[in-house]
């Protein structure tokens, strides 16, 4: 794996400014980022660092000011509107608040992206059932999202994101609304999907544990800039940025707690 690294996502000098109340607010200031094909890459940063904005720029839910985003060889920012809609079938996205469609059953939620992508009817059912089994929702297909627990809802979110067999998933705080145990299960599921299909995942989060558990490489986003990036292990052991240092401190603290509590109580 390590030897055949191929860049899948390449972001160069990406800028984004918002104009709340007419005043410019620079949210992304020259982002450079490379994510390899098939890896789970973490982006960590505090609230307001610009993580969601970065995520939304990648599939153009947000228009960026300047820079370039290459995804699997496609220059995302150069696509026409029509091409963009098509390209989005190849990019799955999962959200903190799940954003499921309450008017649809679980089955319909998972089938929706296939219908939008124009997959023939005969294939839709098989594909939905297959995906539901992968995420462990076979029993819940007739239920509406309103009847599900948080963990189950995120499983629907994941199923909806991967049902069209995309090459890339953007996960924006996918586990931040879940309890620790459910978080682990969802992370395991993402890991499994990544292992089985070789899908590339961009894991955006403010949760240390999630990154540590699932990512090999990561970047730290601080006030709209990538302040460091590299192997997760290296960054936690030898942080070079304010945010990295802070996270590393918390990380060491947690480790000590685990060690002492592991031996003691």
């Amino acid at each position: 794996m390590v030897n055949e690294m191929e860049t899948y996502l390449k972001i160069s000098d990406l800028h984004k400014t918002f104009y709340p109340h007419g005043k410019p607010l620079k949210v992304l200031e020259g982002i450079n980022l490379e994510v390899d094909k098939g890896e789970i890459f973490g982006i960590i940063g505090f609230s307001g660092a610009g993580k969601s904005t970065l995520a939304r720029c990648i599939n153009r839910l947000e228009t960026s000011d300047s820079g370039s985003i290459e995804l699997g060889g496609t220059d995302i920012l150069k696509l026409s509107k029509k091409e963009l809609l098509k390209e989005r079938h190849r990019i799955g996205m999962i959200f903190q608040n799940f954003n499921l469609f309450d008017s649809m059953t679980v089955y319909q939620n998972i089938a929706y992206p296939l219908q939008i992508a124009g997959v023939p009817k005969a294939q839709i059912k098989d594909r939905v059932l297959e995906t539901a089994e992968l995420v462990g929702l076979t029993e819940k297909l007739k239920a509406h999202p309103g009847a599900l627990s948080g963990g189950q809802k995120q499983r629907v979110g994941i199923a909806r994101a991967i049902v069209t067999n995309p090459d890339f998933i953007i996960s924006d705080e996918a586990t931040s609304a879940l309890d620790p145990q459910t978080t682990m299960q969802i992370l395991d599921l993402l890991k499994e999907i990544n292992r089985k299909s070789g899908i590339t995942i961009l894991m955006i989060t403010h949760e240390l544990d999630a990154i540590r558990y699932i990512c090999n490489r990561m970047a730290v986003l601080e006030e709209g800039k990538i302040t460091e990036s590299g192997l997760v292990r290296d960054i936690f052991e030898n942080p070079n940025s304010k945010t990295g240092e802070l996270f590393a401190k918390v990380f060491k603290l947690l480790q000590n707690v685990e060690l002492t509590s592991g031996g003691g109580i």
Binding site: L85, E87, I91, M93, N99, D102, S103, I116, A143, A147
Partner: protein, 236 residues
């Protein structure tokens, strides 16, 4: 029987006289006809305009500031007209459509014209209630705007749309009573003609019962349907 020379109790008793009610079935039919047809017209155009308002909103799917501002302004103007004045204004329009300026169909035009702007605003506020994240999810999936409107926006907000429609239908009903004075017939016409002009308060009372029952019925059905949908979705 009139309250001027009989006691309230006697008038109430008289208001249940079958002879009175026999004459009311026709007007009830006219009222229902006007309410149903006006409500359907209001539903179609109100939804259409409400959707347009929502998507042309500066934060909407197809932001069109000029169009949004102008249509909002026109709707506010129309809504500030008292219903009676709207009926009078619509007389020439009705003449254009039906060749006469009075009667049931002419009044339907006035009622619809008056209620469409109101219902459009109610639709707009229902549609704006949708969680932005759902629209975003649909966009991330690659839906075009038409799919977002018809497969996400409307279905997701349908319980709220139904409640808004219920309220609006009741407005339509109350306006049919007013339109009765312009030759539209119906319960309102009877109430005004007998109750106000001839002091036959037993008939007036009978009309009031009918209006109360109709309003209760409409509200009840609306609540039931919207509740049932929420229940199916496990949202209550």
């Amino acid at each position: 029987m009139s309250l001027l020379d009989s006691s309230l109790w006697e008038v109430i008793k008289a208001s249940f006289d079958p002879a009175i009610w026999k004459e009311l079935w026709g007007p009830i039919g006219e009222t229902l006809y006007m309410t149903v047809v006006s409500s359907l017209i209001m539903l179609v155009f109100g939804l259409l305009i409400g959707i347009l308002l929502t998507i042309t909103n500066p934060d909407g799917l197809v932001p069109l500031k000029a169009s949004y501002t102008v249509s909002g302004w026109v709707i506010n103007c129309l809504r500030s007209l008292p219903q009676m004045i709207m009926i009078i204004l619509m007389i020439p329009v009705a003449r254009l459509f039906f060749g006469k300026a009075y009667g049931t169909n002419a009044c339907i035009i006035a009622i619809a014209a008056s209620c469409i702007p109101m219902y459009a605003r109610i639709v707009e506020s229902s549609l704006l209630e949708i969680e932005k994240g759902k629209i975003e999810a649909a966009q991330a999936i690659g839906s075009n705007n038409l799919s977002i409107i018809f497969r996400i926006l409307l279905p997701e907000t349908v319980p709220s749309l139904i409640r808004g429609f219920t309220v609006s239908v009741i407005s339509v009903l109350s306006m049919t009573a007013l339109a009765g004075m312009f030759g539209a017939g119906g319960i309102g016409d009877i109430a005004v003609r007998y109750g106000y002009q001839r002091f036959q308060h037993d008939r007036l009372f009978a009309c009031v019962y009918i209006l109360i029952i109709l309003v209760q019925l409409i509200q009840g059905i609306g609540n039931l349907v919207s509740k049932q949908i929420l229940k199916t979705r496990n949202l209550i």
